[in-house]
């Protein structure tokens, strides 16, 4: 202590001796409060004190396309809660008079007169020459749409009976906005119901592959050494194998006797079993970098067990990157399910997913005669694009400290 005081006095004396005009060197002994000298503006305070997740959110918000995509996805996932209400018809309702009917267009004006949204009736004729069903609009019959109307009855999530729909056709009319299939079922309704399966299969699958990736990638990244070597070789082997043939082989194993629900989970597990490798690699490389940090060393010195260090100290650091990576691999799963179901190896009717619907469009005749059966591909493309944009936005936002 005294030594310090000495030097201070020294400096004071020297200062006054050399330059009499300069004020003496002085260090106040009062406690220093940085907040007095350096006032943060409100914006700065908000920014400096924000949590990491808040920063991520702010950065994500700047990515307009990602935000729009996120809203779209939220709506899509919201719709699966109330599919029964949104769909104009039931999942299995058959319209035997309207087999392979083309999409009906919604009109607002009839002969220049405004009547609100309505559809024209369909006139049906069998073209004997090429045995094709021909439907034409019958301009004399006008069917205005009804909103919040009573239609096909359903059991809402299997819980209670109802028959309320968002929109249905007028009495005696039909409303096939996306046409009907070979059994006369409304394609649009089936697409809305199909979202339930197709959208959740990606989430359940990613949940499984995410857990696998965190555990395996975590072990590999934290322990390094021979564990790491084995895991990396294993991942290399899995990745070097073409996915779809392996999926096909695994899907072919599922017993035909399984209930639709079991098949659903079986397919999800199959998709996840091959998907975790990419995520595990991301976890590993991040962990390898983070475990050299001082705070990790501190935790180890304090006697924390590996599990605590990995999950408590290291995982928060890699989580944002992982979520971004996971978002980018959901599309792969949705496409995988679609491909498997399309081949007839995935989900089977009566389960209805977009892939199962596209299975109907397996034939070249469909492209030529009933192109609307390919419409279920539209939600597939939109959802996959949206996931890609959201994932890109998240990846950019995952490191909020980088400009």
């Amino acid at each position: 202590m005294s030594g310090k005081d000495d030097t201070r006095q020294d400096a004071q004396e020297r200062g006054t001796a050399r330059d009499p005009g300069r004020p003496p060197h002085f260090v106040s002994t009062a406690p220093f409060d940085p907040a007095v000298t350096e006032q943060w503006t409100e914006a700065q305070e908000r920014y400096f004190l924000a949590s990491q997740w808040r920063l991520v959110w702010w950065k994500f918000r700047r990515h307009k396309l990602a935000v729009v995509s996120a809203i779209f996805l939220a709506l899509a996932y919201g719709s699966i809660l109330i599919s029964e209400f949104l769909a104009p018809y039931g999942l299995h309702t058959r319209h035997v008079d309207h087999i392979f009917a083309p999409p009906q267009r919604v009109h607002l004006f009839h002969e220049g007169r405004f009547i609100g949204p309505f559809v024209y009736g369909l006139r049906y004729r069998l073209d004997m020459e090429n045995l094709k069903r021909v439907y034409t609009e019958d301009k004399s019959r006008i069917y205005p749409l009804r909103l919040f109307c009573r239609g096909d009855s359903y059991r809402f999530w299997g819980l209670f009976q109802s028959n309320l729909h968002l929109v249905c056709a007028a009495e005696g009319g039909t409303l096939f906005l996306a046409g009907t299939d070979r059994l006369g079922r409304d394609v649009l309704s089936r697409m809305i119901y199909g979202a339930r399966i197709s959208l959740t299969i990606g989430l359940v699958g990613i949940a499984i592959s995410f857990s696998l990736a965190i555990v395996i990638g975590g072990l590999s990244g934290y322990y390094g050494g021979w564990v790491d070597f084995l895991v990396q070789r294993w991942i290399e082997i899995l990745r070097s194998f073409p996915e779809i043939p392996l999926w096909m082989a695994l899907a072919a194993i599922l017993p035909v006797t399984w209930s639709p629900l079991l098949v659903y989970f079986g397919i999800t597990v199959i998709l996840a079993l091959l998907d975790w490798t990419g995520l595990a690699r991301a976890v590993r490389s991040k962990l390898l970098a983070l475990r050299e940090e001082d705070y990790c060393m501190a935790a180890r010195v304090l006697g924390a067990r590996p599990r605590r260090i990995v999950f408590r100290h290291l995982m928060p650091g890699v989580m944002s990157h992982l979520i971004a990576a996971a978002t980018l691999s959901i599309p792969n799963m949705i496409l995988g399910e679609t491909a498997l179901s399309f081949l007839g190896l995935g989900l089977r009717p009566p389960i209805t997913s977009w892939g199962v619907l596209l299975n109907e469009a397996q034939n070249i005749n469909v492209v030529a005669l009933y192109p609307w059966l390919m419409l279920p591909v539209v939600p597939v493309i939109l959802v996959i694009l949206a996931f890609n944009f959201v994932g890109d936005g998240l990846r950019d936002a995952a490191d909020p400290y980088k400009a």
Partner: protein
């Protein structure tokens, strides 16, 4: 160099051993075997069962022996060039596969060539014009290619190829050339049919390759040596060609490891839709009827195909990039 190649080839052995074990496990998993299903089917149709043949097959392929023994028998057979017997086709697997494997290779190689041809300029343009409208547009197109399910694209292209060019539907050649020896006309016919699967399979790969190339080139362009070259007054075009592009070329070769499994995967799927005489359709039917040697050997062929492809890319990379030779063969 020779040492590196040798090490790299030796490393393939454990990989293929593990892959063969996985494949064997998968085809062994379903309960029952082909002969049981076959006998049951014959009996249900009231036909007589040739007990001798069944017993011979049973003995020949060791049904009823322990799993390990059967696995070793299968692998040992493959090493000697005996890929087993297809119960469904009633001929050796090698004869069933033969031509189909060549066509699979043809489709894959053509697809990779096309993927490179398209992805290379797109990647360069996107990287040098980052955040321009062109970059956004190309990225969007690429994503669209990524998001469209292959099989549907295949159907649509097939339809329009038929309507506009009169290409026959399905298959890889006009029906008149089926089963004929290779001739000039047959090659032309194959080329006429090849472009659809190649484009369809290529779309997804092109998009991701272009995106990876863009990211790679952007990293490279941010490096100090580029700045130095620019400061020396090197024109932009030459600057790009001289250094960053050369390292990007290495990346192209290295990326085969990523591309090949994807291409073969896509080719299998598209083959089913287009009923191409490649491996896809046979594989599915073999899997479904538990024709285990056919299915297993098929999967094994695909695995070998990918592993060899990756091996070739690694060796080519070692020629191109001296850093890899010096590393001592272990990739990180």
């Amino acid at each position: 160099m020779a040492g590196y190649v040798l090490r790299r080839i030796l490393m393939m052995i454990p990989t293929l051993a593990v892959v063969s074990a996985i494949i064997f496990a998968i085809i062994e998993l379903p309960p029952g075997d082909y002969l049981e299903t076959y006998v049951a089917e014959l009996e249900s149709r009231g036909e007589s069962v040739d007990e001798k043949e069944i017993a011979f097959l049973r003995q020949q392929y060791g049904f009823g022996e322990p799993v390990i023994e059967r696995y070793l028998k299968w692998v040992g057979g493959m090493l000697r060039g005996d890929f087993g017997y297809s119960f469904e086709y009633r001929m050796p697997v090698a004869d069933v596969v033969g031509d189909r494997l060549i066509l699979t290779v043809a489709v894959s190689v053509a697809t990779i060539a096309l993927t490179w041809l398209i992805a290379f300029p797109i990647g360069i343009y996107s990287a040098t014009h980052q955040y321009s409208w062109g970059d956004y547009g190309l990225t969007f197109l690429g994503l669209l290619g990524l998001a469209t399910p292959n099989f549907l694209l295949a159907l649509i292209l097939l339809y329009f190829a038929n309507v506009w060019f009169g290409t026959s539907i399905g298959g890889l050649m006009d029906p008149e050339y089926l089963g004929k020896p290779w001739s000039w006309g047959k090659i032309v016919s194959v080329l006429e049919h090849l472009w659809i699967p190649v484009i369809v399979v290529g779309t997804a790969g092109t998009a991701s390759l272009a995106r990876r190339l863009r990211a790679n080139l952007l990293d490279e362009l941010a490096k100090p040596y580029v700045e130095t070259a620019r400061a020396k007054g090197l024109p932009e075009g030459r600057l790009l060609l001289k250094y960053p592009l050369r390292s990007a070329l290495n990346f192209f070769v290295a990326d085969i490891g990523n591309l090949l499994p994807q291409v073969i995967s896509g080719a299998e799927l598209v083959a089913v839709v287009l009923s191409l005489p490649t491996t896809g359709p046979i594989l599915i039917s073999a899997l479904q009827s538990q024709d285990m040697y056919l299915a297993g050997s098929f999967l094994m062929f695909l695995a070998v195909l990918t592993t060899v492809g990756v091996l070739v890319s690694d060796i080519a990379l070692a020629f191109l990039d001296p850093r890899i030779r010096l590393e001592g063969g272990v990739r990180q």
